[in-house]
């Protein structure tokens, strides 16, 4: 007698249109209800951490920039901050502000991108188009200021490579105003659309304690009511800027969406503040070609949460060890917690609710 299993198993990925990135979930479902989910990663694993052995610490900036195309500048920033701390140099003030500007622009573009994908995951094509349309403005800004649309590679150890002059700054603020208008429209849509609420409210609920103990970070954590935001530690120029972590308390997909939408407004505000407060001056300092020995941990708030950089050096041009724990990696545990018990239709939404970035995760 050939007995098939009582439950259905459905592969979700690696090639799947909802997730632009390859990740495989083996879903065990009953009717449409997901009973268990077994993840399998590694389709993007390249082994970039080990490139420290082959590239010197200056070249590594470009490598970490290419860890991910979405949060690339912030990876560079985190890495540079770590190395700078290791060497013990102080970055010029202007560079710090510039880093804030680009980081926050990245945050906006990343959130808009995510928002589009989420809309796509619950089948709202028009919203996807809308949010990506708004996003193109940011891409233009990035290209105009840094030279590339996606991987801008502006950070180097000791500062930044490019400057934003006053004229460009003014243009940038004008463009941001338009983005802000678009975002307002977007916010209204999210808050008032019945179907979106049906698909997000109460989906993927993560309680405050769970979120905290599963080590969730970023909007995933803040959507559950825990106000942890690395930017409040005041790295780069954040110490001089005025902002509060965005927190929502419901802990469901909707709350996380709202957190991200509000963060975009916050980011626009931060960019404005940074540009207004930006002092004149140098944008980078020269660094010596050799590193001192030591280990450093830095943490930087990425769009998806805090990234954790550990570097260890024992002198020389190359680092001994670079270790990156990305926000998605930290959030995956929460995802695995949320998946069982959801419905199949909600799986894409749930996967996207933590805003997964697999290339970050797997490096």
């Amino acid at each position: 007698m050939i007995r098939m299993s009582d439950k259905s198993t459905i592969p979700f990925g690696p090639q799947h249109p909802v997730l632009p990135e390859p990740i495989h979930l083996k879903l065990v479902v009953e009717d449409e209800k997901v009973v268990e989910a077994y993840p399998s990663f590694g389709f993007v694993h390249r082994g970039l951490e080990m490139l420290v052995q082959k590239k010197d610490f200056n070249q590594m900036v470009y490598v970490v920039d290419h860890i991910c195309g979405i949060c690339s500048a912030m990876h560079g920033q985190a890495y540079c901050q770590a190395v700078e701390e290791l060497i013990g140099i102080d970055v010029p003030e202007r560079a710090k502000y510039l880093r804030v500007v680009w980081a926050e622009l990245h945050r906006i573009h990343s959130h808009l991108l995510w928002f589009g994908l989420l809309a796509d995951a619950f089948g709202f094509e028009n919203l996807f188009m809308l949010s990506w349309r708004i996003r193109e403005k940011i891409m233009d800004i990035l290209e105009a200021t840094a030279g590339n649309r996606v991987i801008i590679s502006v950070n180097i150890v000791g500062g930044v490579r490019r400057d934003i002059d006053t004229e460009q700054a003014k243009w940038l603020l004008d463009e941001l105003k338009e983005v802000e208008e678009g975002l307002k429209e977007l916010e209204k849509i999210v808050k008032n659309n019945y179907t979106i609420k049906q698909r997000t409210v109460g989906i993927g609920v993560l309680s405050k304690d769970d979120a905290y103990m599963f080590g969730a970070v970023g909007p995933t954590l803040r959507g559950s009511g825990v106000p942890i935001d690395m930017r409040t530690t005041g790295y780069a120029a954040y110490g001089n800027l005025d902002f509060e972590p965005v927190v929502e308390t419901d802990g469901d997909t909707y709350a996380r969406t709202i957190v991200r939408v509000r963060e975009m407004f916050q980011s626009i505000d931060l960019v404005k503040q940074a540009i207004n407060k930006m002092p004149e001056g140098e944008i980078n300092v020269k660094v010596k070609p050799n590193l001192p020995a030591g280990e450093v941990i830095t943490r930087v708030e990425q769009p998806r949460g805090e990234v954790f950089y550990y570097i260890k050096s024992s002198g020389g041009k190359n680092l001994d060890r670079l270790r990156i724990r990305t926000p998605t990696f930290a959030n995956l545990a929460s995802l695995l917690h949320m998946l069982p018990g959801s419905t199949l239709a909600d799986v894409p939404v749930l996967v996207l609710t933590i805003d997964p970035c697999i290339s970050c995760t797997e490096r």
Binding site: P14, Q15, H16, P17, P20, E21, P22, G42, F43, V44, H45, R46, G47, L48, M50, L51, K54, Y62, V63, H66, I67, C68, G69, I70, S72, L113, G116, F128, M129, W132, R133, R135, E136, M139, N148, R149, V150, I151, C357, S359, E362
Partner: protein
């Protein structure tokens, strides 16, 4: 216009795109997605993203091949019906780009499947991707013409 011409034109006018991200850094992927969005709108050329190899004519691959996804890439390629064209977007897909030396990377996708069009750039600009796809559509048409002959030979 005769039927034959119309069919050939159809192949050029309706290339369906399948996008597979094969350990890329997302940079190229989001640019491909950007091609679908209103500002670049690749649907003007009849290109739609189908997400299913069995419906696709053009396989757009970003990123390098690593040990885990080379089979996936091969499977997807095999499940596409002829005529089919492969476009490698980004330098990763061409040679492995900056990841070449990492331990889990095999190199460009041409190590696994034949590639027809290379779109350089890191990431490739949306304009370049559209160029690439347009070129791919032309190659698709040529391949169809060749395939028709192959079929005649079979008969």
């Amino acid at each position: 216009m005769g039927l034959k011409e119309f069919v050939e034109k159809s192949f050029k006018k309706s290339p369906w795109v399948l996008h597979y991200n094969c350990s890329s850094c997302n940079g190229c992927d989001i640019e491909i997605l950007a091609c679908m969005t209103p500002l670049y709108d690749m649907e003007r050329f009849g290109m739609v993203n189908v997400g299913n190899p069995k419906h696709a004519d053009i396989l757009v691959v970003t990123g390098t091949v690593n040990h885990k996804n080379k089979e996936v890439l091969k499977n997807i390629y095999d499940q596409m019906p002829e005529p089919k064209v492969v476009v490698a977007v980004g330098v990763c897909a061409a040679t492995g780009g900056i990841f070449r030396e990492a331990y889990n990377v095999l190199g460009g996708i041409d190590k696994v499947i034949p590639v027809d069009v290379y779109v350089p750039g890191c990431p490739a600009k949306p304009e370049a991707i559209i160029d690439g796809l347009y070129k791919a559509a032309e190659i698709l048409k040529e391949k169809y013409e060749k395939m028709g002959k192959a079929e005649e030979v079979l008969k």
